[in-house]
Symmetry: C2
């Protein structure tokens, strides 16, 4: 057995997470991890730590041979990538919380890890306190991972919860989230789904060995969801969640997206309220596992960084088993999804794109339909998120194959009746 390493840490960033970690480590002497130096951008800012800890010079950390671990908890994804690259290249282990940086630079980061043999851990970057990456790496080392679905963004989940439980409009719920500190003053990253799809990008790598750029994934946020959608959901005994999902299809390929979705009351994800995160993993061995916890915030994130530090003492690395030891899975767009769509005017909706439409409703203010679309339509087009159109997946939305001939006919019949509909 290897002797446990003493960790000497150089930390980039001293925001809420960095300071949280600093405090935690002071109370965690048994970890044998010490923050030797902290690199910050703004030396003028008052910090709750001795001034000699801080520097503004990256090299004082990166060139310090005694520092064997870089903890990177800064906001700027490009700067973070430069720091992490240099640290790995000089043989230092790295713990990072920068989801955007990891998502956007994943191929380069994978290559760097292979070239240098250095360990890059980032449990805190997805679902903070929930050890989802470690579980995907350690528990599902085989072809039996049927599906994974998750709520990975706490801000949007908070907003949706308030729209649902307190019947707030989206703008009201957003304002409340901002007041309570659950959403940024510029909330676009969260609200439009960027944060969620960034996290999902590398969760897909650990789950299925898929390496893709976040912009290639089909995703949306909750910015188009209206109080009326929540009312429809309630009528149908559903809730609305922003769900990241991946499902292995019968052909062995993977269907995946990050989209608003109707969720049944007995679905595990319906349990996830307010700013919490949740992950449901379905596998051939362990059946369904559900993990639930705080997905963001100073201490939950610091707690995940801490667990990565603890793992580094054992020389732990992600093996990316699904990518390197198995044949990686491929994403596919060759399937159909059953969607709910609400909109202001039929003219924005290309009805002919639907395989069929099962239900529609119209009143003076708003119209909605439930129908089946080829997923490729979501991938290639953007009408479904423009002009105030709100697309929400139905529960179990994936349809692998349909009898096209029969259904086109049915669809045409139904389409005829729209014109008289309102």
């Amino acid at each position: 057995m290897e002797a446990h390493k003493q960790l000497t840490i150089g930390m980039f960033g001293f925001g809420v997470v960095g300071e949280g970690l600093y405090k935690v480590l002071q109370q965690t002497s048994s970890l044998r991890a010490e923050i030797k130096r902290v690199c910050i951008k703004n030396p003028e800012k008052k910090r709750n730590a001795p001034p000699e800890l801080f520097t503004t010079e990256r090299d004082e950390l990166l060139n310090d041979a005694e520092i064997n671990v870089i903890v990177e908890v800064i906001d700027d994804a490009d700067a973070a990538f430069q720091i992490v690259s240099r640290a790995l290249t000089s043989g230092k282990s790295v713990v990072s919380a920068s989801k955007k940086m990891i998502a956007e630079h994943l191929p380069a980061l994978l290559q760097l890890q292979q070239q240098t043999g250095a360990s890059l851990l980032y449990e805190s970057a997805a679902c903070a306190s929930i050890p989802v990456i470690r579980n995907l790496e350690e528990y599902y080392d085989n072809d039996l991972l049927h599906s994974i679905k998750a709520i990975v963004n706490g801000s949007t989940n908070f907003i949706l919860t308030k729209m649902f439980e307190d019947k707030l409009d989206f703008p009201q719920a957003l304002m409340l989230a901002q007041q309570l500190g659950f959403a940024e003053s510029n909330p676009a990253l969260d609200v439009e789904g960027w944060d969620a799809v960034n996290k999902w990008t590398f969760l897909l790598t650990h789950a299925y060995g898929i390496v893709d750029h976040p912009t290639h994934l089909v995703f949306n946020g909750i910015q188009n969801i209206q109080a009326g959608d929540a009312a429809v959901a309630r009528e149908k005994h559903y809730e609305i969640k922003l769900v990241a999902q991946a499902i292995k299809l019968r052909n062995g390929k993977v269907a995946s997206y990050v989209l608003p979705q109707f969720v049944k009351h007995d679905d595990h994800l319906a349990f996830v309220k307010n700013e919490y995160n949740g992950v449901v993993i379905e596998s051939g061995f362990a059946d369904k596992q559900f993990f639930y916890g705080k997905g963001a915030g100073s201490f939950p994130t610091a707690s995940a960084v801490l667990s990565d530090l603890s793992a580094l003492r054992y020389g732990y690395k992600y093996e990316y088993k699904k990518l390197y030891h198995h044949r990686p899975h491929e994403l596919t767009s060759d399937f159909y999804v059953r969607v709910y769509l609400s909109f202001n005017n039929w003219k924005y909706i290309p009805r002919e794109k639907f395989e069929w439409i099962e239900e529609w409703h119209a009143d003076e203010e708003r119209k909605y339909l439930i129908g089946v679309l080829p997923f490729l339509e979501l991938k290639n087009e953007s009408w479904w998120k423009q002009n105030g159109t709100s697309l929400i997946l139905t529960p179990d939305p994936v349809i692998e194959e349909i009898d096209t001939r029969k259904l086109k006919m049915r669809s045409l019949e139904l389409a005829g009746s729209f014109d008289t509909g309102i």
Copy 2:
């Protein structure tokens, strides 16, 4: 970084878990773990594996220098302890699923691990697919673990769910559990709480550094719970669960027990139905974390064994941080609990033991009361589980201190009214 070990496994037992693991490993080539030999008791039994794999001679595994890991998944706790002791002493790593063995021999196993430096992992022994031990070891390495509560026995949870949802009596629900394979033909181990308290014994060690014998803990099963108790719970908008709980009190000591408990509908544990397990961990850093999954069964257990094997490749050992690196916490009985008690006759209930009684109800068939008892009464006496008396803790049952003078008076007043009560 250490090169990953090739694991050459000698396995004891080839029941549902052993066979499950064998199948799993055949599909998990990336783990570089191979079962070289399996020791079984009954050579006559038909096995779904090549006959040359099997032996009935322990020494063929324990004396084989090539075998560096012993996986022990047998039923007999005493034999398991002998095997595990010998394996550790000869420097082999051990993965065990025997909760009873671990609970009863914990001090000796701790000593053996310290003497030999060999690793003993047993994630599968508690909550199977839920990585609770690893999380307690890795995430809560400090004084900020406020509390942990868990449903750790799937059989009893299945029975309680059926009593609740289908309004079955205990004997009917038990029979159903047996028919479906969720309870043993001799169900006493599960039903009377032994299995739960065994698991809880070593979870307390990983959570708080407490080392105690299972028989020293206050526990009971669900054998006394009646359909009437479920009816009362429903009226009060509670469910009944068999809950293992530990709470750090203001004086730094730990209150702990494994007892039936009323659980509010919005409690995380209310989410845990049928044969599932769930764990709620409350800490200063990560707030509340909830883990949910299958707590037993061939593949969920094999999946947890697999994750231990995977960890062994990194030389992972439990550090028992709370025990060795911190001042271990102490159990205390110096607190009070609010309990619900249903019974057939007042004569079985020592009313004078109650600090006070808040509510009581009587009809011809059954009586119940809700009141506050010193926990020491549960620890020292057994009237509360005899004569068909059913004790169920109320939600948030622990009361650290009470103003005794005031309450004794109130209690006396109330006690007077019992005699006229029925």
